[in-house]
């Protein structure tokens, strides 16, 4: 087990190195000058700026310096927020994205399993039809529409109630998180519901369920011990990447609900060609994703005894 874990860890580090290198060269290949602003600057000022960020050195040298700094855990200073270290930006804003993301994934995971099991149970009857309709809606309506509609509804609710039932944006208390987390987790919840439903239906027609029924096991036990536990496996598989995806992909929700998460820095950095922030956030998110995938693989073994790794 430990050997397997170590192997995965080394592979993960190689993956992160690959992500870092690909991002570095890809970013430099994108046309455009990261130091250019609205107003043209003199050659002297341009040279001063280039020297400050080390852009005056050859690309190979820049790459080595940059890899060395990453190894030390230093992502440098932002180009657009000239006084802030990228490490500070990640440290201040990632916990917010992560908090929102965790809540969203909990909503998505619990909701997905619950609705999925329900639809499978009531297959082709009205609860199934209604839920599956909502699922299709949840998958196909983009999050900026859902976010805008839910915020608009909250305004209506507050105005109708004559007081603040729920804040319509901002950050600070759990009430600020509730609606954004639901919106953020919605499409994942819809996806998981569908996955759970098909997985439940597949399991229900397997031999071991029939055997269990034939043995005369109570329906409750069949459902919880055999059907649910087996059907939940594919859901766990996608949960890892989904956690990373949700914590990193909150850009739209963060903008609409004025939440100071990392997502908006990530997106804006790319628009602004803010080299250090692009590098910092991409490598950080990459590492986060790699870690999540490893974690899920380990969890897998716990849920499914068949997937033991230490053969």
């Amino acid at each position: 087990m430990l050997k397997y874990f170590a192997k995965r860890l080394v592979l993960g580090l190689v993956t992160i190195w690959f992500i870092a290198s690909a991002t570095f060269f890809g970013m430099h290949a994108v046309p455009g000058d990261p130091l250019a602003g609205d107003k043209a600057v003199t050659a002297q000022i341009r040279a001063n700026l280039a020297a400050k960020y080390g852009l005056d050195k050859p690309l190979g040298t820049q790459y080595l310096i940059y890899l060395g700094n990453i190894a030390k855990g230093d992502f440098g200073i932002s180009y657009t927020q000239e006084n802030r270290r990228v490490n500070d930006i990640i440290r201040e804003h990632f916990p917010i994205s992560a908090t929102l993301g965790i809540l969203a994934i909990v909503f998505a995971g619990l909701g997905g399993v619950l609705w999925g099991a329900l639809t499978a149970l009531y297959r082709n009857r009205w609860p199934d039809v209604v839920i599956m309709f909502l699922v299709i809606l949840g998958i196909s309506v983009p999050s900026f529409v859902v976010a805008a509609i839910s915020q608009w509804s909250l305004v209506g609710l507050n105005v109708a109630a004559g007081t603040t039932v729920l804040p319509i944006g901002g950050w600070g208390s759990v009430w600020h998180m509730l609606v954004p987390a639901l919106v953020l987790g919605l499409s994942t919840m819809a996806y998981l519901t569908r996955l759970m439903r098909s997985s439940m239906l597949e399991v229900v027609s397997t031999d071991y369920i029939r055997t269990a029924k034939a043995k005369g096991l109570p329906a409750t036990q069949i459902f919880s011990r055999h059907q649910l536990r087996n059907a939940i496996l594919p859901v766990i598989t996608v949960l890892g990447p989904a956690i990373a995806g949700i914590t990193t992909g909150g850009f739209v929700v963060e903008i609409v609900f004025a939440i100071p998460g990392l997502g908006r820095y990530f997106v804006q950095a790319i628009q602004q060609l803010d080299y250090t922030v692009i590098m910092g956030t991409t490598v950080f998110y990459g590492a986060f994703l790699v870690f999540m995938v490893i974690l899920v693989d380990l969890l897998y073994g716990l849920v499914d005894p068949r997937v033991r790794v230490d053969q």
């Binding site: 700026l49 201040e92 809540l103 600070g172």
Partner: protein, 561 residues
């Protein structure tokens, strides 16, 4: 019977699952509630207007990248700095220049002298002196600072040499005979020098404080020393800011509010409107689609022209087809900017472009465009076809040419570039290829000259027509189409160096005429903003030059008149 038990039991299972899940989520949220509060000081849920606390709330479109006045270039930083700092002079509520730290001043062709008031103080109680201005300007000019707006200081003697690193910053032509007198030697006569001092680059910085911040000056609320009406008491990056009244500010009589909250930072226009409707912020911009709703709500809709002019710029490099005057004139005669503004983009508050000089610029005693009205370009298809035929002959073309239009990647610019494409194809048979690029890449292509036409814009830096007037000078780096005309350069030199207002304004009139006649650029529109303000708030000032919006002098009046 069997079916019934089969169904109810899993149902009970699910119900149990649901209850456990619900309890789990509740517990998790409670944990997050306290963890979240510990992790990040979030936005407090303040009201748009709080009479008891004498405070108002506004929204910022974006986080200020930094608040180091020697390096700030963007409008958001300018807005924040305008509330917490004060320069030598400022724009009053009547949009006229008035003394701020300076109580009096005099500008001659060779020098500018400012007499500082002795009761202007920093928020630690120390006086603001001439040395603080000298240090700020020297800092902005130092090559290591790499300030993008250092060029604004080039009117001061030896400033350019200091910025190039040829002279030490101590060589700069400014000195203080006593702590409250500032004498500036000018490189050349600058009739509008005092008006330039409104810009943040000219704000004071105190040396001992700057040195103590170890390069983090302006990065956080406590890394800045304030001499303006307010001071920043709290700044949670990307989330919120709080401005508190500065007890040491000299002019307390003009300041009415105790606190200005910035509870939200978001660029989303719809979210901003929702915050306004929910009573969270005191003012919001309106988009075209919100106008009917705003009218239904009975809000008083206000308009403001933000001073920026947008235009279609030609590439004048000799290897480009658009270097041909007849081709440019053909394009000039078919594009009807009134049609574009009123029928295509239909944005509230926008005005069709007629000149590079926007309508708000003042001439000698009346607006420049009234004293020197621009020649009206009437769309004329026959004339345009004639110009095109002449151009094709000169360029040895048998078919109408294909042109590349460089544009940004926002919705407005998409509509506009498609309108240009469609108009030129339908009316002249010119094929336009739209090259859509994100901001930095568009800039790179503009600088390298990789375009025939580009959708560009220009906003003012100071309150004088020259801020637009020298844009197409052959030496101006912002002249990305590389227009090069000795005749135009000569006119610009008159406007730059002569002191008599009438002579200068006539020169601007001639520059305007030259640009239209030679179709150097095609003015498209002047940008407007439509917005609403909470009716209880007075003296919220929208500006072209200076902090916009400016609530530093605002007050609350609930009498409802």
């Amino acid at each position: 019977m069997l079916a019934l038990t089969k169904n109810t039991s899993p149902n009970r299972q699910l119900a149990k699952f649901f209850i456990i899940a619900f309890a789990g989520v509740a517990a998790l949220m409670l944990t997050l509630h306290y963890a979240g509060r510990a992790l990040s000081g979030g936005s407090s849920d303040v009201s748009a207007v709080d009479e008891a606390a004498n405070s108002i709330s506004i929204l910022l479109r974006d986080e200020p990248p930094q608040l180091d006045s020697s390096r700030a270039t963007d409008a958001i930083s300018g807005m924040v700095l305008g509330h917490v700092m004060e320069g030598l002079v400022r724009m009053g509520l009547d949009s006229r220049l008035e003394g701020a730290v300076a109580k009096d001043w005099e500008v001659t062709p060779t020098t500018a002298t400012f007499w500082l008031r002795d009761n202007a103080k920093w928020n630690d109680g120390q006086p603001v002196t001439a040395a603080d201005f000298i240090f700020a300007w020297q800092t902005a000019l130092k090559p290591e600072t790499a300030s993008e707006y250092a060029f604004l200081l080039f009117a001061i003697k030896k400033a350019e040499a200091v910025n190039k690193g040829e002279l030490p910053s101590s060589a700069l032509g400014v000195n203080a005979p006593d702590p409250y007198t500032l004498v500036i030697e000018l490189e050349r006569p600058v009739p509008f020098f005092d008006k330039m001092l409104v810009f943040p680059t000219f704000y004071p910085i105190r040396e001992d404080f700057y040195a103590a911040t170890n390069g983090r000056f302006g990065a956080d609320a406590d890394q800045l020393l304030y001499n303006g009406p307010f001071q920043i008491s709290r700044w949670v990056h990307g989330s919120s800011m709080t401005f508190e009244r500065n007890p040491h500010f000299w002019n307390q009589d003009e300041i009415h509010l105790d606190t200005i909250h910035v509870p939200y930072i978001t660029s989303d226009g719809t979210a901003s409107l929702n915050f306004f409707k929910d009573g969270r912020i005191a003012s919001t911009g309106l988009q075209a689609e919100n106008l009917t709703e705003a009218m239904r709500m009975g809000w008083q809709i206000r308009q403001h022209r933000d001073g920026t002019v947008f235009f279609l710029e030609f590439n004048h490099r000799p290897e480009r087809l658009t270097d041909n005057l007849n081709l440019r004139r053909a394009v000039q005669r078919v594009l009807d900017m009134e049609e574009m503004v009123y029928k295509v983009t239909k944005l509230p508050g926008y005005e069709p472009g007629v000149s590079l000089f926007p309508g708000w610029l003042m001439g000698v005693s009346a607006p420049l465009r009234e004293e020197h009205p621009p020649q009206k370009v009437v769309p004329d298809l026959t004339a345009a076809k004639g110009y095109l035929a002449a151009a094709m002959q000169e360029l040895n073309l048998t078919e109408p040419p294909e042109l590349v239009l460089l544009a940004g990647d926002n919705p407005i610019s998409n509509i506009q570039s498609e309108w240009v494409q469609q108009s030129l194809k339908a009316k002249l048979g010119i094929d336009v290829k739209i090259d859509k690029q994100i901001f930095k890449q568009r800039l790179a292509k503009m600088t390298s000259g990789d375009f025939d036409l580009v959708l560009a814009g220009w906003g003012p830096d100071y309150n004088d027509p020259l801020t637009f007037g020298d844009l197409f000078a052959s030496w101006n780096k912002n002249n990305r189409g590389r227009y090069n005309s000795a005749a135009l350069d000569a006119l610009i030199e008159i406007a730059q160096t002569r002191l008599e207002p009438a002579v200068r304004m006539r020169a601007f009139g001639d520059i305007q005429q030259h640009l239209i006649e030679n179709a150097v650029l095609l003015p498209m529109y002047e940008r407007g903003v439509t917005y609403v303000v909470d009716p209880r708030i007075r003296q919220l000032k929208r500006r072209v030059i200076g902090p916009d919006p400016d609530v530093s002098r605002a007050y609350i009046d609930s009498s409802g008149e």
